[in-house]
Subunit: 288 residues, 2 copies
């Protein structure tokens, strides 16, 4: 990853730390911080900031919005891991929230992180019109017709045969919506033109699809140590994935196709976008 | 309750229905609607609308903000009832969400309702400066230093002796924050003066305290049919309540005191406030 892009990790962390330090209840603060600091790659904040800086926007000013994405993402992981959901004991090599604390704490830490995401986003120092647009985009992306809707589709699909189109829709909502809105919010913050905004949306949508395919591939090819969680879990649970529906070779081809689409979208922008292209280093397309 | 105030229930319901009809996933929509339509009194929306109309604001325009309060409140009830939390099978005389559906659905319906609250709030047709202020107030009130923080305090207090001051702080966050912000948002929407805004905040804070004391009293004095849930649950779980800390007579006196404080605050407004005073009919102070 470009040093310029990765360099934003530290300011994002500081923004997260500053927010969490404002939480009065020590038990709640500890549970929120435990999961926020559990080693995430901060891809969503970095994507937002890469878009902002691509269009010469103010990355510093965008930090609360960028960090809000991470708070929201963290809530979704905590709730996904709950016993009633995916029932995972490990996440990124650390105990999941309900294992480290207890189930009630994990539910409430997740709930608090969702509110916190909106709270932090609403503190972004931009024109009110801009902030309203950010809140509208964000709420739409994470809500019933976005991330949560995808999670429900995922739950309903378990134990059922689903086709590739259904898997794609599920993944587009569950994982794609938050990545796409990171780019959309970056475009709003940097006041990108409508054409540029459409291309970064296309970039982020392809990035999101590639991200989920990579995740599906990792589940069958990586060890527990590499994954930081139980491998082959999708297969064991009869969960549809790219490899289960199109095979490992087919999944790697699909991954390559999505990365190519993302590159193409980036090439259509009115400005060079090394920050965005650098994010594609995440994908292991060289394995093909 | 004043007919004028109660008459807002129908437009609030329509706003909720219209929002829920936009949810694409039928399973998620059914779970969200089940709890939203489980017979709530819509006190929070009615409080916001009573404040708006007290200051001759536009109630119709305020409906998305008012309904957002109910979506948020409903999410908090669904999650409170979960097995890992209060483990309630009944709520308002109907099966709780995790009993009617399953635990995963209840978690996700709650999550979706929280996002939905922000989504609907962000659709309020007011000046961007006003909307930003509403989102800021709302996010703060429902987040880690508001409602969720109170819920964590409540959980931590279980099985421990707590004093009245701790119980009051817990209830102020868990129940009071959302009622107080309903009034604050109403004052913002109606562009009330700073003095009037402070008095409606005082009114709603007293209302919130009275509401929680009434709830504690009902738990020990009402039957399951009246409560719509298991009675004496607080006592059985060794949960601190007003009656357990100051006795039933003390609790009824405290209730009367809070209602009197609310009336006093309403009397200090620059305009008559029959809509606000009518909300106090909710409390059974005649039993004292």
């Amino acid at each position: 990853m470009l040093e310029e892009t990765a360099a934003w990790r530290q300011p994002v962390q500081e923004t997260l730390d500053q927010y969490l330090a404002t939480v009065n209840n020590p038990h709640l603060e500890a549970a929120m911080a435990y999961s926020v600091d559990a080693g995430g790659k901060r891809l969503r904040p970095l994507l937002l900031l890469a878009v902002v800086t691509t269009f010469s926007g103010d990355g510093q000013q965008a930090l609360p919005a960028a960090a809000a994405l991470e708070l929201l993402h963290t809530y979704s992981l905590i709730h996904d891991d709950l016993p009633a959901m995916d029932n995972d004991d490990l996440r990124r090599g650390k105990k999941t929230s309900h294992k480290q604390f207890d189930e009630a704490t994990a539910i409430l830490a997740g709930d608090a992180l969702q509110s916190a995401a909106f709270d932090l986003l609403a503190q972004t120092s931009v024109a009110p019109e801009t902030l309203v647009r950010l809140v509208q985009l964000f709420a739409r992306a994470v809500g019933p017709n976005g991330m949560v809707g995808g999670q429900v589709m995922d739950m309903d699909a378990q134990g059922h045969q689903i086709d590739l189109a259904t898997l794609q829709q599920l993944q587009a909502e569950k994982t794609g919506a938050l990545l796409a809105v990171a780019a959309d919010m970056g475009a709003v913050l940097a006041q990108a033109s409508a054409d540029d905004a459409a291309q970064v949306h296309a970039f982020a949508s392809a990035f999101g699809r590639a991200f989920q395919i990579q995740d599906d591939i990792n589940d069958v090819t990586e060890t527990a140590a590499q994954l930081g969680k139980t491998p082959n879990k999708d297969v064991a649970e009869g969960k549809a994935t790219y490899p289960s529906l199109v095979g490992l070779t087919g999944a790697r081809k699909a991954l390559g196709d999505e990365v190519a689409k993302a590159k193409h979208a980036a090439s259509q922008l009115s400005v060079p976008a090394p920050q965005l292209l650098a994010l594609l280093d995440y994908f292991e397309t060289e394995k093909q």
